[in-house]
C-alpha cells in the first residue's frame, strides 16, 4: 500500500520537476518574460510607488535620499554634467561637501553630487556594481581594499590623465602604491593617511602610579594590571577585534610590533603577538567583548571610563574635540605604540583613496577633480578640517597642526614605523584569515600557536602565487 503511494508520489513529483525543467528550458527568455509579467503584476502598485519616488528627490536614483546633499552644501548646479561621488565619511562629510562645492563653483564641466553610504554597504555596492555596472563616477575606498576592486574592474585606469602631472612625485610612495595595479597603472589618488596609537586616560594611569604612558610591552602589561578592575567592568585596555577589516587593522600593530610580518605570521614572533592579546583577555585586562566591538564601540567604552587605554586612530582626535568633548572629563594623552620585548615598534597605515569608476562617461573630468582635491594646499586644508595626515610631502610644510598639536605629533611621528596593508588583490582573504585567528586566540578557541598556524595555512599559498610588496 505504502509502497504504491510512494511510487505515485514520486511520479507526480517527477511531473512537477518536468514542468519546472521545461520552463527553465526557455532559459533567459523565460526569465526576461517573467520580468515583464512581474512588471504587469506590480503595475497595480505603480501608483503608490511612483508617488513615493516623485515626492522624494528629483533625481530618482535608488541611493539618493536623506543622505544626498542639498544645493546649499555643494553649490548650485553649474550647468555641468551630473557626476556622482560615493563616500563613507561620517564626521568628515561637511568638509567633503565643502570641497565639492568649491570645485562646482570653480568650473562648469561637471557638477559633483556626493552621497554618503556606510562603509559596509559601500563595499557591497562596489562588488555588485562590478557585475551590474551600476557604479558612481567617483568612488572612495579604504586603501587596502583598492587592489581587489581594481582587479574586479571597479575602477578605471587613469594613468594617462595623471602622467604629465608634476605633483605626482610629491605623493608618498606607500599611499600612492595602494592606487596601483601590479603593472603600476594608476586607478586613483590617495586622499589621506592615518595610523594608530595608544590613547591613555592619564587620571587612571596616575591613580595607579604611572606618570607616563607605557613605552614597552612589559610596561604596557604593568599598566594594564594596575588599572584593571574587571569586577566593576573596568579594563586596562580596549581595542577592536571585530570580524572585519577593522579587526585586522587594529591587529597589525601587534603583529608587526612583535617582529613578524603577514608572511611570517606563524613565526615565534607572530605567535607572541597572538599570545599577547590572549594574555590581555585571560588576565582580565581586556574584555572578551572586544570581538564584537568596532572601533566606534571601543572608543565608546573608553569614553565611558571602562578602559584606561585605547588603541585609537588619528581621526578620533576630531571625535574627542567634538561629540565626546563633554564626556571626557579627565586628562588624556596619546602615546606611540609600545615596543615589544625584542624592541620592535610598529603601527599600521590606514587611509582612503578616491578613484574614477569604470564606465563613467566623464573619466577625464573626474580625474581633473581628483587632481584638484589633492593639490598640496587642498590636501593640507582637508587634513586639518577632517583630522587626517597628508599624503604628499609638500603638504606637510603648509600647516603646522601635526607638529604643533601634541596629539597629532604622536601620529605624525608614528608614521616612521607604520606598515601598509597590501596592496594585494587577495587582501580581503588575507585579512579574514588574520582577524579569524586573532578572534580564536582571544576567545581561547585556539592556542596562540594554533591560531598563528591557522592563519598561515590560508595566507602562505596566496603569497606564494603573488607575494606582498616589500
Amino acid at each position: 500500500m505504502i509502497k504504491r503511494k510512494m511510487v505515485k508520489l514520486t511520479a507526480s513529483m517527477a511531473v512537477t520537476a518536468l514542468v519546472m525543467a521545461s520552463l527553465a528550458g526557455c532559459g533567459n527568455a523565460g526569465g526576461t518574460k517573467s520580468s515583464d509579467n512581474a512588471g504587469a503584476e506590480v503595475a497595480a502598485e505603480e501608483g503608490t510607488d511612483a508617488a513615493v519616488e516623485t515626492s522624494d528627490a528629483p533625481a530618482a536614483e535608488t541611493t539618493e535620499d536623506g543622505t544626498a546633499s542639498s544645493t546649499e552644501d555643494i553649490g548650485q548646479p553649474n550647468g555641468g554634467a551630473e557626476v556622482r561621488l560615493w563616500h563613507y565619511f561620517e564626521h568628515e562629510a561637511a568638509a567633503l561637501n565643502a570641497v565639492c562645492k568649491q570645485y562646482n563653483e570653480l568650473q562648469s564641466n561637471i557638477y559633483i553630487i556626493p552621497t554618503f553610504i556606510s562603509r559596509e554597504e559601500l563595499m557591497k555596492q562596489y562588488t555588485i556594481g562590478a557585475v551590474s555596472g551600476e557604479l558612481p563616477d567617483i568612488g572612495m575606498v579604504d586603501s587596502p581594499d583598492m587592489a581587489s576592486y581594481i582587479s574586479l574592474g571597479v575602477f578605471e585606469d587613469i594613468t594617462q590623465y595623471l602622467e604629465g602631472w608634476e605633483d605626482l612625485g610629491q605623493f608618498y610612495e606607500g599611499p600612492l602604491s595602494s592606487c596601483k595595479d601590479s603593472e603600476g597603472n594608476l586607478y586613483g589618488l590617495p586622499n589621506n593617511s592615518n595610523c594608530l596609537a595608544i590613547l591613555c586616560n592619564m587620571d587612571m594611569l596616575k591613580a595607579a602610579g604611572f606618570e607616563n604612558p607605557p613605552a614597552t610591552w612589559a610596561e604596557f602589561r604593568e599598566v594594564c594590571e594596575a588599572t584593571s578592575d574587571p569586577d566593576n567592568g573596568v579594563y586596562g585596555f580596549a581595542m577592536c577585534c571585530i570580524s572585519n577589516e577593522e579587526g585586522t587593522f587594529q591587529f597589525i600593530p601587534w603583529l608587526y610590533g612583535s617582529g613578524a610580518t603577514v608572511a611570517t605570521v606563524d613565526s615565534p614572533e607572530g605567535v607572541s603577538s597572538f599570545a599577547m592579546l590572549s594574555e590581555l583577555v585571560n588576565n582580565g585586562w581586556m574584555s572578551k567583548e572586544v570581538v564584537n566591538w568596532g572601533q566606534g564601540d571601543a572608543i565608546n567604552a573608553w569614553v565611558a571610563g571602562k578602559a584606561a587605554m585605547l588603541e585609537s586612530g588619528t581621526w578620533q582626535i576630531a571625535n574627542l574635540d567634538g561629540e565626546f568633548k563633554d564626556a571626557v572629563t579627565w586628562e588624556y594623552q596619546y602615546a606611540e605604540f609600545p615596543a615589544s620585548d625584542n624592541g620592535t615598534q610598529a603601527t599600521v597605515i590606514g587611509g582612503e583613496n578616491f578613484g574614477v569608476c569604470a564606465g563613467s562617461e566623464y573619466t577625464a573630468e573626474c580625474a581633473e577633480f581628483l587632481k584638484f582635491m589633492q593639490t598640496a594646499e587642498n590636501n593640507a586644508e582637508w587634513c586639518e578640517v577632517a583630522g587626517k595626515l597628508p599624503v604628499r610631502a609638500d603638504a606637510v610644510g603648509l600647516k603646522d597642526f601635526w607638529t604643533a598639536d601634541a596629539r597629532y605629533k604622536v601620529f605624525n611621528d608614528s608614521m616612521e614605523f607604520s606598515v601598509a596593508r597590501g596592496p594585494h588583490e587577495s587582501w580581503p582573504t588575507i585579512s579574514e584569515a588574520l582577524y579569524k585567528a586573532e578572534q580564536a586566540a582571544i576567545l581561547g578557541e585556539k592556542t596562540p600557536e594554533e591560531a598563528a598556524a591557522g592563519a598561515a595555512e590560508t595566507i602562505k599559498p596566496i603569497l606564494e602565487k603573488v607575494p606582498l610588496p616589500e
Binding site: 505504502i2 518574460k33 574586479l152 574592474g153 570581538v291 576567545l443
Partner: protein
C-alpha cells in the same frame, strides 16, 4: 454537449489555478533550477562578471566536505534543530495538555502567547542579544540574584553557551507554536474516550500513554516534521543575534550559504551549501508529504 461542458469547466479551473502556478514556476521554480546549475559550476564575482564560469561537476561539494568550517556548520545545524525540537516539543506538549483543559482563560491565553511567533525574528534576535549580554543582560542578572551563578556567564562569547542561548530564544518562539498545533490535535480527541477509561479505572499515566499518545500519533509526527523543517532553515535569528559567531559556533547552513554568496561572493559555493540544506529538508519533507497525502485519501 456534456463533453463541452466538462471542457469549459476545465478551462475555468485552469484559468483560476494557472496564474498562481505559473507565478510559482517563474519566481520560485526557475531560481530553484538555476540554483542547481550554479552548484555545479564555478560562479563567483569574477567569473560571473566575465562570463567565464565553467562546469566543475561535484567540485564545490568536495571542497565543502573538506572545509572544516562547513562541517562545523553542518553539525551546528543539526545541534540547533534537534536542541530546539526536544525543548519546544516537550514543553509545548505539556502546555498543550494543560491548555486543552476546559477553563475560563484557556482560549485567550493560548492565543496570546502566540504573539512571539508573529513578531519579526530580527526583533526577537536583538532582544536575545540584549538579555544574554554579559554585563547588562537580564539573564545573568536574574541567575545571579537567585544564586544559580556567582559570576556573569559570557553567554554569547563562548561557543557552547552561545548555541544554548540561540536555542533558548528560538524556543521562546517555538513552544507556543508547538503548543498551538498540538492543542488542536488534543481537542480532537473525544472526551468520551477519557471518561470511559476513567470508569474502567485507568489512572492519568495510563490514560496518557494508552489513549492520548496513540491517538495523537499522526499529529505528533506532523508537528515534529514541520518543526524540523521550520527550525532547520533558520536564518534571521542567528544572523542578527550572533552573526553566526563566535567563530562560526552558531553558524547554520542558511547563514553560511549567505556568507559564502554575499560576503565572499562565491556564488556557486553558496548555492552548493543551499543545495545540501535543501536535500536535508527534502528528505524530511517527503515523509511529511507522504503523511499528508495518506490522510487526504
Amino acid at each position: 454537449m456534456k463533453l463541452s461542458m466538462a471542457a469549459k469547466k476545465r478551462r475555468e479551473g485552469y484559468s483560476f489555478i494557472l496564474p498562481g502556478f505559473v507565478y510559482m514556476m517563474i519566481v520560485l521554480g526557475y531560481p530553484l533550477i538555476y540554483n542547481v546549475i550554479l552548484a555545479f559550476r564555478d560562479v563567483n564575482i569574477k567569473t560571473f562578471k566575465a562570463g567565464t564560469d565553467v562546469f566543475v561537476g561535484l567540485n564545490n561539494f568536495i571542497t565543502l566536505l573538506h572545509d572544516e568550517t562547513f562541517l562545523l556548520v553542518f553539525k551546528n545545524t543539526f545541534v540547533f534543530t534537534i536542541g530546539c525540537l526536544v525543548f519546544q516539543f516537550t514543553i509545548g506538549f505539556i502546555f498543550a495538555m494543560f491548555f486543552s483543559k476546559k477553563f475560563t482563560l484557556a482560549g485567550p491565553i493560548r492565543g496570546m502567547v502566540l504573539v512571539g511567533y508573529m513578531m519579526p525574528m530580527s526583533v526577537t534576535a536583538m532582544l536575545g542579544k540584549n538579555i544574554f549580554d554579559v554585563s547588562s543582560g537580564l539573564i545573568n542578572d536574574l541567575l545571579m540574584k537567585i544564586g544559580v551563578i556567582s559570576a556573569p556567564v559570557e553567554w554569547l562569547l563562548n561557543g557552547n553557551t552561545a548555541m544554548a542561548s540561540v536555542i533558548a530564544v528560538n524556543c521562546w518562539v517555538g513552544i507556543p507554536f508547538n503548543m498551538l498545533l498540538l492543542t488542536s490535535g488534543l481537542t480532537g480527541i473525544s472526551q468520551d474516550v477519557y471518561e470511559s477509561a476513567e470508569v474502567d479505572g485507568a489512572n492519568s499515566f495510563q490514560r496518557f500513554f494508552y489513549i492520548t499518545l496513540p491517538l495523537m500519533k499522526s499529529a505528533i509526527a506532523s508537528v515534529l516534521m514541520l518543526g524540523f523543517i521550520y527550525t532547520f532553515k533558520a536564518f534571521d535569528l542567528q544572523f542578527v543575534m550572533t552573526s553566526g559567531g563566535p567563530l562560526n559556533a552558531t553558524d547554520v547552513l542558511g547563514t553560511y550559504s549567505y556568507t559564502l554568496s554575499f560576503t565572499q561572493y562565491e556564488f556557486s559555493m553558496g548555492s552548493a551549501t543551499a543545495m545540501i540544506l535543501f536535500c536535508c529538508l527534502f528528505i524530511i519533507g517527503l515523509f511529511y508529504l507522504r503523511m499528508i497525502s495518506k490522510e487526504d485519501d
